[in-house]
Symmetry: C2
Subunit: 210 residues, 2 copies
């Protein structure tokens, strides 16, 4: 279980002293702070147990370099795609743009994944792609989606056991709204899930409500 | 400064013992665990300093009921809208759907805010609204946006000093992609910012990279 604590001003000062002077004995730290060794003991215990400081007999305390935020990062890394994954909405590559837009409204999603006759991922369609097509001059019922979709290998994918934070970073870096969650098969990628900015927003809300 | 620690199995057990039997002396806890009081001292210090337990002289340890996750929630509450706010993209209520779609592409946003001649918020337009209009039978250059936009008072707004987690929760609960950040003026709301699921995703990534 992961819990969070707020360090006191004194504990922050101790970390700074050890950073600057370590290895340093408990007595020397106490001296610098004009406190007794006994007063300081609980602070040194908490800092050692939390992994900020380490103590070696006859040497003293030294700074581990491992910050608490590194530990926070570590625990966020444990939130996985599979914890927030949604059902993917899939269309065949030969359907029309008009039909794809209807599917998007029926399923109430912002991204569709396009598969070939073997059910392998060949494309991605966003609301933005469809909106762009819809202001073109073409008849939407006659325009096939494979003309306008983003195609393999230009599709960023993720897997069930990827860290959600890493996937969130991909969404930001690539400026996209959703990633297909895939399973690699012999001839390509099977689409088994969907991660969107909505899923990330849900994870963020969950952190605040835990 | 907020840091995070992982409690050991023993510390979790101690919390449980105090929950079930508190107030309870350190000696009694040690006895239940078949440990000496001295061995237990660092654990009891860390749990007390982290706010899980409290100790009263001659009474013993008792459970505070204040979980560490309550503290995590507290610190997430300190991330504000103003920390992640984006520039709002605004259109006048008399422009056409076609022009609004073009603005959306030019500005590369998914939501437009609509204002009246006094620059006060009167509507919101999402990609979804525009896509729905685009498959209708009407001529997009002749269709004004105020026919299809979501109107006041059905618009959820937020303010610069709102907590980002609360706004994220609104986005999920109301199933929308963006909220206008507003400043209340005498006659209505001035739009001064924009929070989208992209901003929330950035905040989530930042937590993981801190």
């Amino acid at each position: 279980m992961v819990r969070k604590i707020e360090l006191s001003k004194r504990q922050e000062t101790i970390i700074q002293i050890v950073k600057d002077n370590g290895p340093i004995t408990g007595e020397s730290i106490a001296e610098q702070l004009n406190l007794t060794r006994a007063t300081l003991r609980p602070d040194l215990s908490i800092l050692t147990m939390a992994g900020f400081l380490d103590a070696r007999p006859r040497v003293g305390y030294f700074y581990t370099g491992k910050s608490g935020t590194a530990l926070l990062t570590e625990s966020l890394q444990k939130i996985l795609v599979r914890d927030y994954n949604s059902i993917p909405i899939i269309v065949k590559e030969n359907v029309s743009v008009y039909d794809a837009i209807c599917t998007m409204f029926l399923e109430d999603v912002g991204t569709l994944f396009v598969v070939d006759q073997n059910s392998l991922l060949v494309g991605v369609l966003s609301r933005k792609d469809l909106l762009r097509a819809s202001i073109g001059k073409q008849e939407l019922t006659a325009l096939p989606i494979n003309i306008i979709m983003t195609r393999m290998p230009n599709i960023t994918t993720c897997e069930m056991d990827d860290s959600l934070v890493d996937v969130a970073k991909l969404l930001i870096d690539k400026q996209i709204d959703a990633l297909p969650v895939v399973r690699q098969s012999e001839n390509g990628f099977e689409v088994i899930g969907r991660i969107t900015k909505t899923n990330i927003t849900k994870a963020f809300v969950a952190l605040g409500n835990e």
